[in-house]
């Protein structure tokens, strides 16, 4: 057995690029949350903006949230990966510039061109708007996604280049020599393993996504070039699912890097850890058919594969990471502050969010639950209480004035407010789903409205607490650039 010892490394401040990523994400996050609230208020019949506006907001909310989740995740990955390999700042910035260009195209498409075919741009909807939007508006939206995709492709190619330069190849970056051979304790650190996995799956996802986007753009103007709708759906879901899943696999790097600093215990890349990441590298690619369980025309083996892999993939990284975090914290005398609390909470949120997906990934359950609010209930839990919470933890960490500083009471209150209101908000989605409330409906039946009203109140509280987190980050953004110890040492570690 290999032994692992904690090795202290200096705590690096964030490069300006990382802060630009985080600032962009935080600002767009708040705006998109407000859009989400407006949707909920419309369903609650407290405001009336009309169905068209609702779907425009839904399109922006979906695309915007997925986009900033990726941007924020990439900033976490880049910040920590830089400490092991030589990444290019220029490519990092180029990705942000392309992202913003794509965002402008998408905003123009939705706000000026009134495109509202949802972020999933499912074929043939973008080209069959019944006069609600023009082909140009749809093309602008899909073009915006393409531009964003090109940026991320460049970023991942740079990560691949840097990893290969240092570790030789991806097999070594994933720790295969240690996984399949003798574990000499010299497997690459968790950050490198996670970045390698994300890079592989995202490059594949992006190439598939770019292909279907190009095909749909051709079809938009020359409809004679027909696309098989099932093929299109498969490709879109493959790309979209890999891309949004990858955000949490990037953000979790914050947990791997930051929590050990509090208790001076190492995050081990041992065989179990390596096995879980290698298994998920494959499974993330084959899990998407669990969204297609209702599509009887898909080949049966694909649906069964989605069902089984959906079950299996819930386990590895999540359980290994949760267990790893408990080992770091257990009897360590850790001193909790906002950063460590949020990071710990995020693992709970991730696990809690995976459970409804696990249930819904069962074919028999799916016949009833599919396309109900159960699904937004699932992904809002793992994204809001998992992914976004990891990013908030990272932001608090970067901005911590020094390692002995205590959190302000208002931040502590906001932490509990955030936790409980997100739970209230997502449980309202889940409960509505259980009551068979359809998702993506602008107008709700009278008996559904009470849940919508409860959810709206929780949404306001979520936004209020997120506003405080983000405000605190911006107030401390100057500190984030400096190198100094941020984590308070655990009692067990100092003793």
């Amino acid at each position: 057995m290999a032994t692992y010892a904690y090795e202290h490394r200096p705590d690096h401040g964030a490069k300006a690029g990382v802060l630009a990523y985080l600032a962009t994400s935080a600002a767009v996050l708040l705006l998109m949350m407000v859009f989400g609230l407006l949707m909920r208020l419309e369903q609650a019949q407290w405001i009336s903006i009309g169905a068209d506006r609702f779907y425009q907001l839904m399109t922006l909310h979906g695309a915007g949230m997925v986009g900033i989740a990726a941007i924020a995740g990439a900033s976490v990955m880049w910040h920590f990966l830089r400490q092991y390999v030589d990444l290019s700042s220029r490519i990092f910035i180029a990705n942000l510039v392309l992202f913003l260009a794509g965002v402008v195209m998408i905003l123009a498409s939705v706000l000026l061109g009134r495109f509202h075919g949802a972020w999933t741009f499912l074929f043939p909807l973008p080209g069959k708007s019944m006069g609600m939007w023009s082909a140009d508006a749809a093309a602008l939206f899909m073009g915006g996604l393409l531009v964003i995709g090109v940026g991320f492709l460049l970023l991942h190619l740079d990560v691949a280049r840097a990893i290969v330069a240092r570790y030789g190849n991806f097999a070594r970056a994933l720790g295969w020599p240690q996984l399949f051979g003798h574990d000499d304790g010299k497997a690459p650190p968790p950050t490198v393993v996670a970045s390698a996995m994300v890079t592989i799956v995202n490059v594949i996802g992006l190439v598939v996504g770019a292909s279907i986007l190009t095909m749909m753009l051709v079809n938009l103007y020359v409809p004679g070039f027909d696309i098989d709708p099932l093929l299109a759906k498969g490709m879109i879901y493959f790309f979209g699912h890999v891309f949004i899943n990858a955000t949490i696999y990037m953000a979790v790097i914050a947990v791997y890097e930051i929590l050990p600093r509090y208790t001076q215990r190492p995050w081990k890349s041992n065989k179990v850890f390596l096995a879980s990441w290698t298994a998920s590298t494959l499974m993330v690619l084959f899990i998407f058919p669990h969204h297609l369980l209702m599509d009887f025309a898909f080949p049966k083996w694909m649906l069964i594969m989605g069902h089984i892999i959906g079950y299996l993939n819930t386990v590895p990284i999540l359980v290994v990471t949760g267990y790893g975090a408990l080992m770091i914290v257990y009897r360590s005398g850790i001193r909790w502050d906002m950063a460590s609390k949020l990071l710990f909470l995020s693992l709970f949120g991730w696990a809690a969010g995976a459970m409804p997906a696990f249930i819904d990934g069962t074919i028999t359950v799916n016949y009833v639950m599919h396309n109900t609010l159960w699904v937004p209930g699932h992904f809002h839990t793992y994204l809001l209480l998992g992914m976004v919470t990891m990013v908030f933890g990272f932001m608090y960490y970067l901005g911590k004035p020094d390692h002995e500083t205590d959190d302000r009471p208002i931040d502590r209150i906001a932490f509990w407010l955030f936790t409980s209101s997100v739970l209230g908000f997502t449980l309202s989605f889940l409960y509505s789903g259980k009551e068979s409330v359809a998702r993506r409906y602008a107008a709700h039946l009278p008996e559904w409205v009470p849940y919508d009203r409860i959810a709206s109140v929780f949404a306001v509280l979520v936004i209020a607490s997120a506003l405080l987190f983000v405000g605190r980050f911006f107030a401390r953004i100057g500190l984030a650039r400096h190198d100094y110890q941020r984590a308070p040492l655990a009692r067990a570690a100092t003793a």
């Binding site: 390999v85 190619l157 290969v164 240092r166 190849n169 070594r172």
Partner: protein, 216 residues
């Protein structure tokens, strides 16, 4: 023991022989009989001959040629346009019916596609190469779909079923190339000294430029 110059000389002679072989009426009739043979064998082979020939030229010549046209990017652009031209059904028809067009194909593919690509390739670095590969793969797949889905017969010289089988071949080729490219990331290369050792962090330095990804 033969020196590099004579080896290059022999290599060039072999390439010229292959080129002439491709140009013989028999080989042309055979390869051009099907759309797949024309688009996916003859055309890529012509470009590949130019690529390899360029590699055999003395280093100094390559540098001069590269500099003469203003660096790697213009070269890639030229290669892109020239190769796109020969992907058009019209161009294929022309080549089959007009001898000058056929001659233009035999000249332009090695000289305007293979050669500039080979000149630019080394300079592109692994990001540029990866970018070209991934884009090429996705465009090949899309082109394959275009040929499969085309509502009309696009060539005068080939029937619709030819069109479809060429399209499917392109899609399959794209998948194979992608799998191969990804697999190449998993093999070869060597770790930097102490790379697996966490304390060696940040030793990577600027070595990132000379990535051992040359095979891609």
């Amino acid at each position: 023991m033969i020196n590099a110059a004579t080896r290059a000389g022999i290599g060039l002679r072999i390439l010229v022989a292959l080129y002439l072989l491709l140009a013989t009426p028999a080989a042309r009739t055979w390869l051009e009989a099907t759309m797949s043979g024309h688009m996916l064998v003859q055309i890529p082979l012509l470009a590949a001959l130019g690529f390899i020939a360029c590699r055999l030229l003395p280093e100094a010549w390559q540098e001069t040629l590269l500099a003469a046209a203003g660096g790697p990017v213009p070269h890639v652009v030229v290669a892109l346009f020239a190769s796109t031209w020969w992907m058009l059904p019209r161009a294929l028809d022309e080549a089959l019916t007009h001898l000058p067009a056929e001659a233009a194909k035999f000249v332009s593919l090695p000289l305007l596609v293979g050669l500039p690509l080979a000149l630019a390739w080394r300079r592109l670095g692994s990001i540029g190469r990866g970018f070209l590969w991934t884009n090429f793969i996705s465009m090949l797949a899309v082109l394959g779909w275009l040929y499969i889905a085309a509502p009309v017969r696009v060539c005068n010289s080939y029937l619709v079923d030819q069109q479809e089988s060429a399209g499917w071949l392109m899609v399959k080729l794209a998948v194979l190339l992608f799998a191969g490219w990804l697999a190449s990331l998993f093999v070869g290369g060597h770790a930097e000294c102490g790379a697996s050792d966490i304390t060696g962090a940040k030793a990577a330095g600027t070595l990132g430029r000379a990535s051992p990804q040359n095979s891609t």
